[in-house]
Assembly symmetry: C2
Homo-oligomer: 355 residues x 2
Amino acid sequence: MSMLLRNIQHPRAVLHRHMSVVASVLRYGEFGDPAKVLQVQQETVPDPSNGEVLVKTLGAPINPADINTIQGKYPVKPKFPAVGGNECVSEVVAVGSQVGGLKVGDRVVPFASGLGTWRSYALYKESNLMRVPGSIGIAEAATITVNPCTAYRMLKDFVSLKAGDTVIQNGANSACGQAVIQLCRAWGVDCVGIVRDRPEFSKLRDHLKDMGAAEILTEEELRTTKIFKDGLFKKPKLALNCVGGKNALEVSRHLDNHGIMVTYGGMSREPVSVPTASLIFKDLQFSGFWMTRWSEINAQSPKRAEMFTELFQLIEKGALKAPAHEMIAFTDYKLGVTNALSIQGFVGKKYIFTF
Amino acid sequence: MSMLLRNIQHPRAVLHRHMSVVASVLRYGEFGDPAKVLQVQQETVPDPSNGEVLVKTLGAPINPADINTIQGKYPVKPKFPAVGGNECVSEVVAVGSQVGGLKVGDRVVPFASGLGTWRSYALYKESNLMRVPGSIGIAEAATITVNPCTAYRMLKDFVSLKAGDTVIQNGANSACGQAVIQLCRAWGVDCVGIVRDRPEFSKLRDHLKDMGAAEILTEEELRTTKIFKDGLFKKPKLALNCVGGKNALEVSRHLDNHGIMVTYGGMSREPVSVPTASLIFKDLQFSGFWMTRWSEINAQSPKRAEMFTELFQLIEKGALKAPAHEMIAFTDYKLGVTNALSIQGFVGKKYIFTF
């Protein structure tokens, strides 16, 4: 570290000023079982150069898409050797020249995907980082760019929702589903959630209703429910689907005329089946949503800044909480990547690496 | 007929002036097999009153939706007793007071659906009629409001097509498919059509290519074709589907990223199956189109007048011809309604009643 450092009056900056930073990095050089192909490597991180920022990672979650990417099952294929992970929250420990908007001590999250966040220290371009208010907890900040943003965009960009409207979603206990429930509550929208039946269903239902869901039904209950026919809730304008197959078909049957089903996942591994008559006579529309593409297209859009401002405000006032999660030491990565896709808990639990 | 008649200088108007008009009407009083529930009835048609127009029907086609309506399988349920048919071309034989835009001798088509067109004479509100240039043939005029309009709107309203773009459609030999082929040719768009394999496939392919299709493939050929991969045609932005099932799935696989499949029929009686990955990572969209709804919503829209102006111009210069058809006497209605859904000819053949 050198004369490139600014803010040298900051004690942390002074601390790092003449130290080499050695990072632990979780890398893989081929597709495969993450527990086998990932390896912890140590590497010296150079000083930040023009426009670069050196950060210390505070928390980095394991998302299902991260696992799929390492397995080679995701449409985004990294160049090898690659570093796992797409989300994190970090603290700035040094900035290079021509870095104008960040200073040592700031908390940041990376904007771009595919940067490789499973590492204790990293050099990022300032343009790929966004400052996060210090009032945002580590778990909330580390998981903000994928699920809350996906939920936000799906609720904003397909139909115009007003307070009192209804949204129906399956996978309501997923990390994204929990964000949908909380955003709906914040905006006065009735969110009806569908989950698979399970021994402790009533406990899960109560938990998700406490979180803000207007109603939680099992797939079985959905088939015969009269909550829409009886006028307890308006017929949904919007359905969010991360399951597919029969479940998605049943959900789509409850959509109002001109309603839209947005698919963002396919946990059942079955396609979405769309009755012809629904398309033609009910004028239903079936679309997909992928946050990665939205972020690429809207990297410079004011819509992005607006979204984060609103999400931060909701987090600050306690209206949007991180999904159920467990902090896990970076060295226990095998446990994390093995369990990340197969968690069968009360609600989905997200692992977040600490360093 | 009386002093309400205007244009009495017109010889036809004079002819009808003191005559009662007796119409033959094809009516049904219950849902069922059209050959059984339809009955020819005679009725005296009163003089046209304020804003009304008395017309003599020149041609009225039998569309599949007409048969489905009589069978009770269509979402639009008529009030009984009902008159069959939704399209026709007619000649004005008398106009009531306050009719400003039409005169005796004008050729007209009804705008609204559900008027019941299978009758030799009819009274319509002027606001439900549109004048057709005398240069438009009877078959073209009688069949313009359903299939050419459906083709036109599907090509205009879902993606922005430029010359050199590609549209893919199944059921390419249907009446609507033939309109799609001709409109694409007129606009410089490459139309790739899919048809079921059949003994005289090569003859059908040549016929549809002569009509303007860029390429015609069987369902089998579609599975292995490289015309898009090899760059012979651009990947389609738009797919038009009137079949559903596996056929629609295969068609959708060829769509370009962000492409849209518009469903307007379901001849296979199988739903449209949508792979989750196509929705999310290719950003495909699946929508439906129903001309009846469009016409209701856009009854007063300038888009409607623009559409008919362009369609009439294309017909006048020979760029848009009626689908293969056979004129059939009104009295042979049992033959017509029995064969309308089961025609297995070289290309679909439409029956048009004459009176």
